[in-house]
């Protein structure tokens, strides 16, 4: 059909720059004929009347078309199509540019926060415990990704025992925390192997029940961790006269039994000497707390100048995704603080409660507490409470005897 190679390019693409124009004048057909003769591509020719047509020209043909039309026709540009005018139009609008900048800032800002934390690999700890520790270390939903992960890891290693390894990996806004717990439970000694019973805590031996083996620590002996309580090396008197076995003076056994020891504990804690009573005087300041990522604004905190105050807040919005935002109403009320000395009964009651909680933390479950005493030392504003108590605990633990090694 006679189409030249130079005309094979696609002239109808959306991406090409084209112009919709209105042409008004007489003998429009002549102008169109000249377009045919000059190779100007014309599209969507719509005849409005004998003296008016609307058509589309490619941008690169427009100048040529104008030179053909000269001043015989009135030409009005109605619209422009293609990516170039679209981009130009978009960037000529200030609101579009502003919107794009804000969008880019939001996208960038959003990508710099942790929106979700996934914890895996924990066994003895609960996920809540790990999350709480991470929060204390500064890694929480809504925190910046710029936090020092070394410090986070250090905090976790210090806070949680028996963490062998910890890794934090960012996948987008997700922080993936992997925990590997170490193995601290000693393997039970095989019954066919010789072993001693050694102390796992220091204390005074109270009672030893040796089922197998030789008692090495008599009642009343003070033992330290690792000291042998029941020995797996038992002396023998051989009666196999005339045989090589007569030379044997000891044999190895799998020691078994229970060793109870008295373990003294001395703990210190502190109590307030006075009860502080806060009484509102009347004046207060209302404000708004606004948090946007790391940006923290509290209008009330900047304004108050009370010596003593109570801070109350009602959180009205807290979102993490897409952007971490927190908004809350704040009230700071001025208060007058007065104090009254606490009574001895009250102090003792609280000290006992404190003692129970301390004992439950420090002492293994089902341990018999032999005696307990509290000593109060009064300071200027605080009272030091010294808790002394003694428990009866099973302290024996089996330890394998490696033949050839010293077992001390």
């Amino acid at each position: 059909m006679g189409i030249g190679v130079e005309h094979m390019k696609n002239r109808g693409s959306f991406f090409e720059h084209s112009i919709k124009i209105r042409v008004e004048g007489f003998e429009l057909r002549k102008l169109l004929t000249e377009c045919v003769q000059r190779g100007i591509t014309v599209k969507d020719v719509r005849t409005i009347s004998d003296i008016e047509v609307v058509l589309i020209l490619m941008k690169w043909d427009y100048e040529k078309f104008l030179s053909l039309a000269k001043n015989r026709y009135k030409i009005t540009v109605l619209n422009e199509y293609g990516y170039k005018p679209t981009i130009r139009k978009a960037f000529h609008k200030k609101s579009t540019i502003l919107g794009l900048i804000i969008f880019a800032i939001i996208m960038f800002y959003q990508s710099s926060f942790v929106s979700e934390i996934q914890v895996s690999g924990y066994r003895s700890y609960s996920e809540t415990e790990i999350r709480d520790s991470l929060r204390e270390a500064g890694l929480f939903e809504g925190c910046s990704k710029d936090i020092d992960l070394k410090n986070v890891k250090l905090h976790i290693y210090q806070e949680l025992d028996n963490i062998a390894w910890m890794g934090v990996r960012y996948i987008g806004n997700l922080a993936e925390v992997t925990i590997v717990e170490g193995t601290i439970t000693p393997k039970p000694v095989d019954k066919s192997k010789p072993c001693n019973i050694v102390a796992k805590k220091e204390g005074y031996v109270e009672k030893t029940i040796a089922r197998e083996g030789k008692i090495a620590a008599e009642p009343g002996t003070y033992v330290k961790p690792g000291d042998i309580l029941v020995s797996g090396i038992v002396p023998v008197t051989s009666t196999a006269y005339g045989t090589p076995a007569v030379g044997l003076t000891e044999r190895y056994v799998h020691a078994s039994g229970e060793v109870y020891a008295k373990i003294p504990y001395r703990l210190q804690c502190y109590q307030e000497k006075y009860d502080y009573i806060k009484k509102e005087t009347g004046p207060y300041i209302l404000g708004i707390r606004f948090e946007f990522g790391d940006l923290k604004i509290n209008t009330a905190k900047h304004l108050y100048n009370y010596d003593n105050s109570i801070y109350t807040e009602k959180e009205i919005l807290k979102i993490v995704r897409p952007i971490p935002i927190t908004i809350g109403f704040v009230k700071i009320s001025e208060v007058e603080v007065s104090r009254i000395e606490r009574s001895q009964t009250e102090l003792k009651k609280e000290a006992n409660t404190l003692t129970r909680s301390v004992i439950s933390e420090k002492v293994p479950e089902n341990t018999q507490i032999l005696n307990k005493s509290l000593k109060f030392v009064s300071g200027e504003n605080i009272i030091e409470v010294v808790i002394i108590f003694e428990t009866l605990e099973e302290i024996g633990v089996k330890k394998e005897i490696i033949i050839g090694n010293t077992t001390d």
């Binding site: 059909m1 006679g2 189409i3 030249g4 005309h7 002239r11 109808g12 429009l28 057909r29 169109l32 004929t33 377009c35 045919v36 003769q37 190779g39 100007i40 591509t41 014309v42 599209k43 969507d44 020719v45 719509r46 005849t47 004998d50 047509v53 058509l55």
Partner: protein, 88 residues
């Protein structure tokens, strides 16, 4: 059609060559646009003229001596110096 006729057909660049299908018409070898309206388009092919009659006619493109017309096409006419009007 033998080779000679085929070659003559291909190289007859001053004769009307029209392809009409449904609501689209392709007019080749266009040298001049004689008349253009919503109901009628007349073009000069050099030696002869052709007319497309219809309703709501729109020239989709004018390019490389080719005009693509869309709309309701009722009839096509050829005019020229060889014996008056012939309608198909």
């Amino acid at each position: 059609m033998n080779i000679k006729d085929e070659l003559l057909f291909d190289f007859s660049i001053t004769m009307p060559r029209l392809l009409i299908s449904g609501k689209t018409g392709i007019l080749d070898n266009v040298k001049k646009i004689v008349y253009i309206s919503e109901n009628c388009i007349v073009v000069d092919h050099g030696k002869r003229y052709s007319t497309v009659n219809g309703a709501g006619l729109c020239v989709k493109s004018i390019e490389d001596e080719r005009i693509i017309v869309t709309g309701e096409i009722y009839s096509v006419e050829f005019h020229g110096n060889r014996g008056g009007t012939h309608e198909e």
